[in-house]
Structure formats: structure tokens, C-alpha cells
Symmetry: C2
């Protein structure tokens, strides 16, 4: 990324209104420079006589948003030279009604079919990356399936190991140790990169950059592109002074995103159906004793040990007594990913000049959002696919680090 | 276990009524023979000059059910010679109100405190087993924490690897490979035990029996003890002909339990807030094509590969159009674990002579349940603790297999 795609105008420019609406920003423009770099990297591999990376997209059901997303993935992969295969659970030569996938048929076995495909893709050496078009069952059964994908092929970054790395700001990993338990062999203190190495982007020998969950990562890239990140500030503080509301606290997107943004210095309100939490970057100095509660000696000792070995999360979470409306009214950036056609954020709640981003397949903002927002991103899917492709290249790197360079 | 603690009387005995209520069965009687065996095994270790196994119980909040459960664990561990430590997040010398743990204090950092304790326990070589008194946050944030516990110390069997093993009827594991992704190195076909070896309880060299999630396992032991399992039938079919309703489909208890019971031959209705599913044992012959839907070639191929390598789940799940009432009326055994004081199963729905088991900390059955049930188990916690202790001994075995015999 060289220059922001769009300059952030809300501070200097005029306040948006019905006559002078904020900018509509498309994710395709943000994704373009990343895709160029990916295309170049793949061409360089091919020029060296190496194979093209191969991505498999597992399509569990013919639900229209999943099918549409898989077709975008196909086009985006063709555009950069990634080999892409869609593995469907059903046979297209037989007419399929979506209801048939709801599973009342006597031999319905969707979860086992998806598992079969994941396991076959794990075992197939020609496959470098696997993605699954969720949601399938919604909720925890999907979380279970996400853990079955080999972390060495998990382009979406949904494996527990990658969330852990993100929450703890673990940037470099030893691919051969992926999946080990924290505190044991996952991350030894001497393997943690120093802040200096991090700033200089020096890779410790035998290590590679950790995958990040691709939707939260795409969101960061979008916010960077529209100028929400302040490049004048040091790395890790570039959202300093910004207040951001994220509506949705799923383990897949909302919670990692809140953590990622707070790690970059923002105050983040994480709004979900049942509660609101506030995420802030953890202070370098140990925090004072929480009010009305004293930490036990054993927690203090564990805390000290883990701080020394850099194993503490880089953000602090606390419950918040504000309402969703109060959070949104206070926010410079409002991000929403509620998977419901009925959920709409009141345009009146949006601070004039704020940046609004929708990552739900439904529209969570009303049509008049740009009468208040200085910028509105209606979708980020194309940037997400670009991040997925970047993750794929990183997984190819992991494999080469583990096994030596392959054809 | 030699003889059932209680004979199952509903078939031969008189039908329960208000005058002649069914039996009240306490879990302590079921747990006793297991505890005797555990005590003996630990004494044998001590006699060989080996250390006592050490269990750490992490207590995140002073919620009364968690504190009570931790005290039961302490007593049960003292009774069999297991060293037990409670690691609390708070300091008892400062008065704590439960509300203080709800997290509105500015420096509230409960998740990080629990993580700190888990990581310290993972890293502490003197600790053989770790349990955490859930629920903390309810929902997926707890699921995340469950993945942080090293599977080599996970006495509760909540790590993804153990659920996977349970769903796939993987009985033997190589402790050094715990946590690897399925289809890669988790389970190679040649490592799968044959049915004959399984029946003879022969352990393949270098392998040990897989941990099972301890609440579902305790439920099986309770149902065996009260005679629901038919010992005349071959292993794996001992629930043949039984219909069982399980109310609750959490990833921690309800879903694994439904799978475990269907693997033993029962037809299981799994009832949750939003849906009802039916679990059945997978037929040995490949199932016919599902109605209204044809499997794709790639699924058929993956299916065949995974069947050959015994990597398919041993149960089939389908959605069910029956109501909860219809499921319960059809059931020989009704099991409930709804964490709400308001949820009560109508006594009228219970088939006369059925066995009823409650595993919620709230009472999900009404006081008159025994006017219909031939047997009622109001709680299974003591059996769960015995299974947890058995799991602890197995983890000690894992460590010795990985590292060679230790002191």
C-alpha cells in the first residue's frame, strides 16, 4: 500500500448533509493494490518453476450468499493466478431446493459431508489452502468445524491458534509448532520478536508472520485506506484518540476485530445482543488493582511470569454500562456486521463526519447514512478475498519453511 | 464396576404412582466404586515411589455454584489421595461482592486473569491436570478459554481434540500427537485400533485411551449403573432399542452426550432452544442418497477415503419436526441440563417407568417427577468428579508415555 485510496475528509471538509452526502467507498478499489502484489508474487513463483498455489472452497449449501461469495472468490483467484476449486456437497445435475439442505430428509448428513471434504482437503498434498463458506449451522457447531481445518491450510485464519496469536500480538510463528498449547511449546519467550525487530520487520530465522483472521484484517486495511489510521503516529498507536463501535461480537469477526483495533490504540465499544464491552490497549505498566476486588497472589505471580514472557493479551476488556445508541453517538467509526435484514442503525445516532462500514451480507445502515457519514463502505468482501489470498501465500511459505522449498 | 447399583425395575416392577413413587438415585453411590479404584491406583503409584497426581482447579468468580463445586472437588480429591489446589482470581482477605465480578470496574480484567492462571498451570511441571469452573462469560468466550488449556492437562476433556475423538469413536491416541489436525497426523489409518483389539481392550504400543469429556462420560456411567445399558447385547449396541431425549445441545455436554448415546445404539432426540435434532448410530453400510438431494462426486470420494481410514463420525444427525413434548413422551430416558431455574419438564409428558436424569445446577424436573419416573437422578456431579479423577490418571499415563516414567 502506498497512498490512501480515499482521503479522510471529515475533519477538513464540509459536514455531510442530504445535499452534500459523504463518499461511497467500494472495497474493490482498496483491494486492487493488494491483488497486484499477489499477482506479481505468484508470477515470480511460476517464473522460478514452482507450482501455482491451490485454494479449495468448500460449499456446504446452495444458499445464495454463499454461492455468490464462492463465485467472487473464483474470479478473484483467476485474476491473480491462484488455482481455485469449489468442492460442493451436492450434485448440480440433480435439481436442489434450498429447503432440502435444511436437513429433515432421513439420510441428511450435512455435517459429516462437510467434515469429509475438510479431512480430504487436509490430506491432499496438492491443496495449499482451504476455506469453508459459513454459516452452515450458525453458532458453535460451525466453531467446531473451524477447528478441523488444518491450521497449515487455514486461509481464513479461523483456527484457535490464530485468534490466540492475534489477541496476544504474537506476530511471528514457527510453522512446525502450530496448534501447540500456550505456555508450553506454542511460544517460548526467546522466540518472541523484540519491538525493534518488529518495527524493522525482521523475521527471526525459521519463523514466519502469523496469519490473521481475514475479515478483521481486511477491516484494518479498509480503515487504513480511507485514512482512519494516522500514519504520523508510531506503529501500534495509529488509532490513538479514535473511538470505534463494532456491532457484533462473534469469535470469528467481532471480538478479534475489537481486539485488533484496540491494540492499535483505539477505544472500542463492542456491542452484542446481550452486552456491551469496552476494549482498550493494555497499559505497559501493570494496571492498578481493580476497584472493589483484590487480585489473588497466585494471579499476581502468573501475571508477572506471563508479562515477562509476553504472554498477556494486548488489550483489556471491561463491561460497559452505556447503551448502543450512546456508544454510536460517541464514535468516529461505526462498524456493523449483524446477520439480520431487520437490524438497522439509526442514521440520527451517527456523529456527523463519522466513517461507517458494513460487513454483514445484509445492509445494517439505512439508505440515508451518507447524510451523516463522511464515508460509507457498504461491503468489504473484496478486500477480505484479497487478505485470504495473502494468507494463502503465507501458508505456502509455512509449508516451505517446514518441508524445505517445494516444486 | 461389577454389578449395577440399582436394578432397572420399570419393565418388571409396578408402574410408579403418587403412592408408589420411583426410586431416588444418588450419584455418590454410583461414584463410590470408581473412587475406590482410583484410590487404589494412586496408592500403588505412591508405593512405587512416584508422586501423587496434582490437580489445579481455577476458580474465576465467587459464584456460589462454582465455589460449592470446587469444595466438592477438594473433598473428593482428598478422599482418594489426589493433591488438589484451588487457584482463585481474587484475594479472599478483601471482601468480594459477586457483582464486582460482573466487570464494570475500570480495571476489570477477568478473562486475562483466567488466561494468566491457565498459562501458568500449563507451564508448571508439577501440575498434572487443570480444570476451570465454568461458566464464566457463557457462550463462545468460554469455548475460547477451553482451547487454551493444554490437552495434556485437560481433565475435563473439553479440548477440541477430545470432542473430535469422541465423535469419531477414536479410542486410542498417541499422546505426542495431541492437537494435530484431523486427516494429517492426528490419526493415521494404521494407528486405528481394530474392532477386535477394541473388544479385547488391547492397547496399541505407545498409545493410550483417549480422554472423554467428563460430564457425558459420567452420564454413561450413571445409565450403566441404573441398568439402562443392556449387558446382554454386544459392546456398542447396549442401548439398542432405547429412545432418549437430551434437553441441551451445548458443545460441552449436550451434543457430545447425544453422540455418545447414539454411538451405543440409542435413538436420541437432542432438544435445544432453537431446534430439535435426531442422532442415530451410523449404519455400517454407506447410507442411501438423501432424499431430494444428490451427493456430489467429490463428497462421495472423500466419504469413501474417510470410511476406509475410519475417519467418519459414528453417528448421523438429522433435523426433526417433532416437538419437545412429543420427544419426551416417546422416551425411555429423559436427560435435562438447562441452566435456568424457570425451565421445568412437565411430569405428564414423562412415559410411565422412564428414567429421568438432571445434570443442571437448577432442578429441571418438577417435585412430583417420581410419580411417573421409575428412577430419578437429581444430580450427577459426584460421578462427574470421579470421571475427572480417572481422566487425571490417564493424563499422568500420557505424560509417562511421552517422556518416559517420571518420579
Amino acid at each position: 500500500m502506498s497512498e490512501p485510496v480515499v482521503q479522510h475528509t471529515s475533519q477538513s471538509g464540509s459536514t455531510p448533509s442530504a445535499e452534500n452526502p459523504g463518499k461511497l467507498v467500494q472495497a474493490s478499489g482498496i483491494a486492487a493494490p493488494f491483488q497486484d502484489a499477489i499477482k506479481e508474487a505468484i508470477q515470480a513463483r511460476v517464473d522460478q518453476g514452482k507450482s501455482r498455489p491451490k485454494l479449495v472452497g468448500i460449499l456446504p449449501t446452495p444458499s445464495p450468499p454463499s454461492v455468490a461469495y464462492s463465485e467472487w472468490t473464483r474470479k478473484a483467484c483467476e485474476a491473480v493466478g491462484i488455482e481455485f476449486e469449489i468442492w460442493k456437497t451436492w450434485d448440480d445435475s440433480v435439481e436442489v431446493k434450498e429447503e432440502d439442505h435444511k436437513g429433515t430428509a432421513p439420510d441428511f448428513d450435512l455435517e459429516a459431508d462437510v467434515e469429509d471434504l475438510i479431512i480430504a482437503a487436509n490430506a491432499d498434498e496438492s491443496v495449499h489452502g482451504i476455506m469453508v463458506y459459513y454459516p452452515i449451522f450458525f453458532g458453535r457447531q460451525d466453531t467446531y468445524l473451524q477447528q478441523i481445518v488444518d491450521p497449515r491450510k487455514d486461509v481464513e485464519g479461523l483456527h484457535f491458534s490464530y485468534c490466540w496469536n492475534m489477541y496476544h500480538n504474537v506476530r511471528w510463528i514457527s510453522p512446525s509448532k502450530l496448534g501447540n498449547a500456550p505456555g508450553t511449546t506454542r511460544e517460548l519467550p526467546e522466540e518472541r520478536a523484540t519491538r525493534e525487530a518488529l518495527d524493522a520487520e525482521q523475521v527471526p530465522p525459521g519463523m514466519a508472520k502469523s496469519i490473521l483472521p481475514c475479515t478483521p484484517l481486511a477491516m484494518v486495511k479498509c480503515l487504513e485506506a480511507v485514512g482512519v489510521y494516522d500514519r504520523e503516529l508510531p506503529y501500534g498507536d495509529r488509532l490513538f484518540g479514535k473511538t470505534i463501535t463494532v456491532v457484533n461480537r462473534s469469535e470469528v469477526v467481532g471480538r478479534p476485530l475489537a481486539a485488533l483495533l484496540s491494540n492499535d490504540g483505539a477505544k472500542v465499544y463492542s456491542v452484542d445482543i446481550d452486552s456491551i464491552q469496552e476494549f482498550n490497549k493494555r497499559a505497559v505498566e501493570p494496571s492498578s488493582e481493580p476497584q472493589g476486588r483484590a487480585r489473588s497472589e497466585i494471579v499476581k505471580k502468573a501475571h508477572a511470569q506471563n508479562t515477562a514472557s509476553q504472554l498477556r493479551p494486548h488489550h483489556v476488556v471491561r463491561n460497559c454500562n452505556m447503551t448502543a445508541e450512546e456508544c454510536i453517538r460517541a464514535s468516529d467509526v461505526v462498524i456493523s456486521g449483524v446477520p439480520s435484514a431487520n437490524y438497522k442503525i439509526e442514521t440520527d445516532w451517527i456523529k456527523p463526519g463519522a466513517v461507517c462500514v458494513n460487513f454483514s451480507s445484509e445492509k445494517n445502515f439505512k439508505p440515508d447514512v451518507r447524510t451523516r457519514a463522511s464515508m460509507y463502505l457498504p461491503a468489504i468482501g473484496k478486500t477480505t478475498i484479497a487478505m485470504l489470498q495473502r494468507n494463502l501465500l503465507r501458508l505456502v511459505e509455512y509449508r516451505e519453511l517446514s518441508e524445505g522449498p517445494s516444486k
